[in-house]
Symmetry: C2
């Protein structure tokens, strides 16, 4: 029997921050959940847009020319090549979608290893 | 100033069923919200996976060899080429992602026109 991907259940299975977990595959992309808190690094993805959907909490995405703040049920796509820095004052739960293998920092040398849940 | 895509706000702007509204662009894909109720047609997409995330209500996706039922915060990806039929006993709100231009029935002749919100 096919089973849905229950995002809350996936999120309850880990506690570490900035460590995306792959929960589904879609057209060569990883569909991931992640918990974040604090400031991430400024980065850009030269070859892919960056999809953020907030499931819990409030995420501020700083851009070089402004910022956008997302609450639950709100999404934002950072266009490819645009520098951004996610900042979470308190813990935020996110759904992310990126081409499989995309480094989360934009640089494989500093990127988190994505694991599958 | 950049603005988030507020899914509830987008969904409050229309009432018709089975008529996807594009709310964002992501890597050549349309990110869409849609309200559905009743039975859709059996169909498959030969060239793309089909991404469903339930925002409200309960969606049953019938498959030729079973079915999967999704509640809020649950997602399912129907692999490319797999026949499926979405069924909603009551109104369901969904987030969908498909390559731009994908006909929602798998057939351009019978597909809904996607508009942008």
């Amino acid at each position: 029997m096919a089973e849905p991907v229950r995002l809350a259940e996936k999120l309850s299975a880990f506690s570490e921050h900035w460590s995306p977990k792959v929960v589904a595959d879609f057209n060569g992309h990883d569909v991931m959940v992640v918990k974040v808190q604090g400031e991430f690094v400024w980065h850009a993805h030269p070859d892919t847009d960056d999809f953020f959907l907030v499931l819990k909490g409030r995420l501020r995405i700083e851009l070089r020319d402004g910022e956008v703040t997302l609450g639950p049920g709100e999404l934002y796509v950072v266009p490819k090549g645009v520098e951004h820095r996610p900042v979470a004052e308190e813990e935020v739960h996110l759904l992310l979608i990126e081409p499989a293998g995309t480094p989360n920092t934009g640089d494989a040398a500093t990127a988190a290893v994505k694991t599958r849940l």
